[in-house]
């Protein structure tokens, strides 16, 4: 045994320099990461905050925030703990102090700091918990190899009878993550779509479950007995739950993709594993809380123990919550909502951070030469607890509200509008959390300095009894001596099991399904669309928009046919997403015109006033009318989403290759045949109302118009909205035409093809009717034109049939022979009556953005006047 840094012989040395370094790094990085989190939260209800800068856009900041918490904060906290705990668990120092400093610089320099710079600069992976780019992943893998050498080698000669549970967790976590990390980060780049998603799901859960959780649990089992002066309640129970954790946790991953195209048996297995996990955690927490029985006074006065205790309690809460939300009835309701974000924060702050802080403070107080303020530590505890409580409660409530609205017929924006207050509360709670971490910094940087006491404490006599009993027991069990064997099994063996069960086996079923259902000869993405896909990933669009339509009535009725496994078979990696703040984009093809997309990317609030999506002005050259190639590529990619299903005919009800019922049963595919897939034909919005009702609808219509239509059509409906300048054809001046009820119904329900006018079938029917009343109030139902003479009628009829009927149809019903092939259908004069001035204007100068060309060179002013009068006679109000 070496002499430790305090000159006490007989105990292994502790690298206190590295303890301090990792502790201070953890503090610096958590403060920065929390600041990023606050910025993200503010942008939800203040989208222009830090807007306009690519490095500060929401998507990239989110990448930096999650990875900063994962690697920068928790990673350093765990390393700090390991440098203190491993010598005490192994009775040997860590492998090498020089290796330790190498690991410190690899972790903080090459992983965290470099990773931050790269993701903010736009180099990232659009994968949950794997956002740092592949070049950083290589350094992460190197760091874990160094960790294995540094922290596992000391246990080389440790007998199993000496291996305390914390050591089990530390070693197994390092070994498991060493294998799981490359799987989650590299494999989805090589295995596409649904098949890759199984590997992503494995890592999403194992990042938290088999990296963060084991270290946090190791901290709890370490701190509790030392702080209380008593051994834990049961080492047997701790071993039982250890083995259960490493067996069960990896099998949970597919619960992130329930109702997806992944085989249903894999989904059921993940749900079952999630429930078992809750039971395992309950046993684990019971063991830890029983270890604290009668120690409430110590919990009250020892800040480290207090943090650890609350971390343990929240471990149970968040795990039971996780088991619950893995059940299908709740999952279909809350998945993609803020409930999941609340769950993630409860886990990472409530469980992982609180346990880590408990370990950090425990270690810090026992490190000579550093300051410690118990009072500041106490303040940090209450600030963090309060902030976390508000955040978790707020996000859970927000998730329930969002889930409820998404199941209803309410438009998507209703959920955004309803969430705004919750997002503000979240921002406020973020400041509390920041204050808590600031107090934590104060607790570790101020206060009296600690020094090592002169002599170690004496051991208790009763320990000799156990020495004797274990020695006699050990003689018959000498074959169980090698600790490596068992922890290796836990780490590598269960990784292999999860790899097979969670990924390899479902992939085989998916391959069969894809082979059976994939339409042949689908066109690949163009080079521009591929570039656009990369931009989509770079800007973090996947964090707000899913591309994953589930086999649920809510998803199908709102967005369309569930995403089939073959649809993403060429996507490396898949961009399914795990959160919806904006709508799902899997069926985006053909929904928006190109100019709408450009205007929307420039500033979303130009076309969707209540949107909180950030703008991307750096994709343009000063104006939405001057997109760079990146904007064009991104818009092209967005329009490609769901194209394969349309092109192949799969999107049509009953057409295309479908699996037979026998094939579905064999592959465990969820049957979605009973779910309606289209919004149906437009209902007739009858605007005939008595005066009192009309007045009420008019007021409502004015409000709805201002909310949804004003940004394009202008608040006074003159076609001069803020987005109008960048849309072609331009939004209509609604005072230049009279619309029959059937025209309004069709336009509002289905939109106008070939233009930026979207469909509004998600709005309540009363709102649509009110809009109809409002639009009609802009014009008179009666025509004030002087009747045409017989000669004028004959001449105008001749002019019409010769020049206009080929598009507008013989009767003006927009059924001319060319009408079906024009992107923007010609005006139906039986449903829409333009004002005479507008008609003459259109005849003279055409309608830019449509097939209506100028006629002033072909028709005289007299002829144009006659035609304008003639088409107005075709109108039928009812």
């Amino acid at each position: 045994m070496s002499t430790n840094s305090n000159g006490v012989s007989g105990v292994p040395a502790t690298e206190t320099g590295l303890v301090r370094a990792h502790g201070l790094a953890a503090l610096a990085m958590v403060v920065f990461s929390v600041l990023l989190g606050i910025a993200l939260s503010l942008k939800f209800h203040w989208p222009e905050f830090l807007g306009g800068h690519a490095w500060l856009t929401w998507g990239r900041l989110r990448y930096a925030h999650t990875q900063g918490i994962f690697f920068g904060w928790l990673g350093n906290a765990f390393l700090m703990f390991c440098y203190h705990a491993v010598p005490r668990l192994a009775n040997r120092p860590v492998a090498d102090w020089r290796l330790g400093w190498g690991l410190f610089f690899v972790w903080n320099g090459f992983v965290v700091l470099s990773g931050w710079v790269l993701v903010l600069a736009g180099y990232s992976q659009p994968l949950e918990w794997a956002e740092f780019p592949l070049v950083v992943d290589a350094f992460v893998a190197l760091a874990f190899v160094l960790m294995a050498i540094q922290f596992i080698l000391p246990f080389f000669r440790t007998r199993l009878s000496e291996l305390y549970v914390s050591a089990w967790y530390i070693m197994a976590a390092i070994v498991f993550t060493l294998f799981a990390y490359p799987v989650g980060n590299v494999v989805p780049e090589l295995v596409p779509g649904a098949r890759g998603a199984t590997y992503s799901g494995l890592w999403i859960h194992d990042a938290v479950g088999l990296y963060v959780t084991p270290f946090a649990v190791a901290v709890a089992y370490f701190v509790i007995p030392i702080a209380t002066g008593r051994p834990i309640f049961s080492h047997f129970l701790s071993m039982l739950t250890f083995w259960m954790l490493f067996f069960i946790y990896p099998l949970n991953g597919t619960h992130h993709f329930l109702f997806s195209a992944i085989p249903m048996t894999a989904q059921f297995g993940a749900i079952l594993a999630s429930v078992y996990l809750g039971m395992d955690v309950a046993l684990n927490v019971a063991n830890q809380l029983l270890s604290l029985r009668g120690a409430s006074a110590i919990v009250a006065r020892d800040e480290a123990l207090r943090y650890t205790w609350l971390g343990v309690v929240l471990y149970l809460v968040v795990s039971l919550q996780g088991s619950l939300q893995a059940l299908m009835p709740l999952n279909r309701f809350v998945h993609f909502s803020d409930w999941v974000i609340g769950h993630a924060h409860l886990a990472m702050i409530g469980f992982a951070s609180f346990a880590s802080i408990g370990g950090m403070l425990h270690v810090w107080k026992r490190t000579p030469g550093v300051r410690y303020s118990a009072r500041a530590a106490g303040w940090s505890f209450w600030l963090l607890a309060l902030g976390l409580f508000f955040m978790a409660a707020d996000l859970t409530a927000a998730g329930l509200v969002q889930g409820e609205l998404w199941q209803s017929e309410a438009p998507w924006l209703e959920s955004v509008r309803a969430s705004r207050l919750y997002w503000m509360v979240r921002s406020a709670s973020g400041f509390l959390i920041l204050a808590g971490f600031a107090a934590l910094c104060l607790s570790m940087l101020s206060g009296p300095v600690g020094e090592a006491a002169a002599s170690p404490r004496e051991t208790l006599d009763e320990e000799a009894l156990f020495e004797e009993s274990t020695a006699s027991t050990g003689r018959g069990l000498h074959w169980l001596q090698n600790a490596y064997v068992f922890t290796g099994v836990a780490g590598f063996g269960f990784f292999l099991l999860s790899f097979v069960v969670l990924a390899v086996w479902p992939n085989r079923a998916l391959e069969q399904e894809i082979a059976a259902t994939q339409p042949p000869h689908l066109p690949p993405l163009t080079a521009g669309e591929q570039r656009g896909r990369a931009i989509y990933g770079r800007e973090g669009c996947v964090n707000c928009h899913s591309q994953f339509l589930r086999s649920t009535a809510g998803d199908v009725s709102r967005f369309g046919m569930p995403s089939q496994a073959w649809e993403t078979e060429r996507e490396f990696p898949q961009l399914w997403g795990t959160r919806r703040i904006g709508p799902d984009l899997a069926r985006e093809h053909g929904k928006r015109s190109r100019d709408w997309q450009m205007t929307h990317l420039w500033n979303p609030r130009y076309v969707v006033p209540e949107s909180m999506m950030p703008g991307y002005p750096w994709l343009f050259d000063g104006s939405p009318l001057r997109p760079t190639r990146e904007a064009i590529d991104l818009a092209a990619y967005l329009d490609s989403l769901g194209r394969d299903a349309v092109v192949s005919g799969a999107i049509q009800e009953g057409s295309g290759r479908r699996m037979t019922p026998e094939e579905e049963e064999r592959m465990g595919v969820f049957c979605d045949c009973g779910i309606p897939r289209t919004p149906g034909p437009p209902p007739l919005l009858d605007t005939r109302l008595d005066p009192a009702e009309r007045s009420r609808y008019l007021r409502r219509g004015s409000l709805v118009f201002e909310r949804h239509c004003g940004s394009c059509h202008g608040d006074s409906a003159k076609g001069d909205g803020v987005a109008a300048a960048s849309l072609l054809p331009a939004p209509r001046d609604l005072s230049t035409a009279r619309f029959a009820d059937r025209a309004l119904s069709c336009i509002l329900w289905s939109g106008v093809g070939g233009s930026a006018m979207p469909d509004w079938h998600e709005l309540p029917l009363t709102d649509l009717r009110a809009l109809g009343v409002f639009v009609q109030s802009l014009t008179s139902p009666e025509s004030t034109d002087a009747p045409l003479t017989a000669a004028e009628r004959q001449e105008s009829s001749y002019l019409y049939s010769r020049n206009c009927a080929v598009c507008h149809g013989a009767s003006g019903a927009a059924d001319g022979i060319t009408s079906n092939v024009l992107p923007r259908r010609p005006t139906n004069f039986r449903d829409i009556r333009p004002t005479r001035e507008h008609a003459e204007q259109a005849l003279a100068h055409g309608v830019p953005g449509t097939a209506m060309t100028p006629w002033q060179d072909k028709l005289s002013a007299h002829e144009r006047r006659l035609l304008a009068c003639y088409v107005r006679t075709l109108y039928q109000e009812r």
């Binding site: 430790n4 006490v8 105990v11 005490r88 009775n91 009878s161 000496e162 291996l163 305390y164 549970v165 914390s166 007995p225 030392i226 002066g229 008593r230 051994p231 834990i232 080492h235 047997f236 039982l240 083995w243 259960m244 067996f247 069960i248 048996t265 894999a266 059921f268 297995g269 079952l272 594993a273 078992y276 026992r366 490190t367 000579p368 303020s373 118990a374 009072r375 500041a376 101020s446 206060g447 009296p448 300095v449 600690g450 020094e451 090592a452 006491a453 002599s455 170690p456 404490r457 004496e458 051991t459 208790l460 320990e463 156990f466 009993s469 274990t470 027991t473 069990l477 069960v501 086996w505």
Partner: protein, 64 residues
């Protein structure tokens, strides 16, 4: 099938642990030994003492 295997495997694992606990008292003692040895080891490491500077009212010279 996979779900059935999973249920069976977890059940067997639990049963194995419980059987060991119930029918192998020597193994039970052996399994509990690490928690005592751990605590015994910790007592060999030196205490840390902080001298009161009354900056934030922390306790005076208390060993951790």
């Amino acid at each position: 099938m996979a779900v059935n295997l999973l249920v069976a495997a977890v059940t067997l694992l639990m049963i194995a642990f419980v059987v060991v606990w119930l029918f192998a008292p020597r193994l039970r003692v052996w399994m509990e030994a690490p928690k005592h040895r751990f605590l015994e080891n910790q007592r060999r490491f030196p205490d840390i003492v902080r001298h009161d500077k009354k900056v934030f009212g922390d306790s005076d010279g208390t060993a951790v």
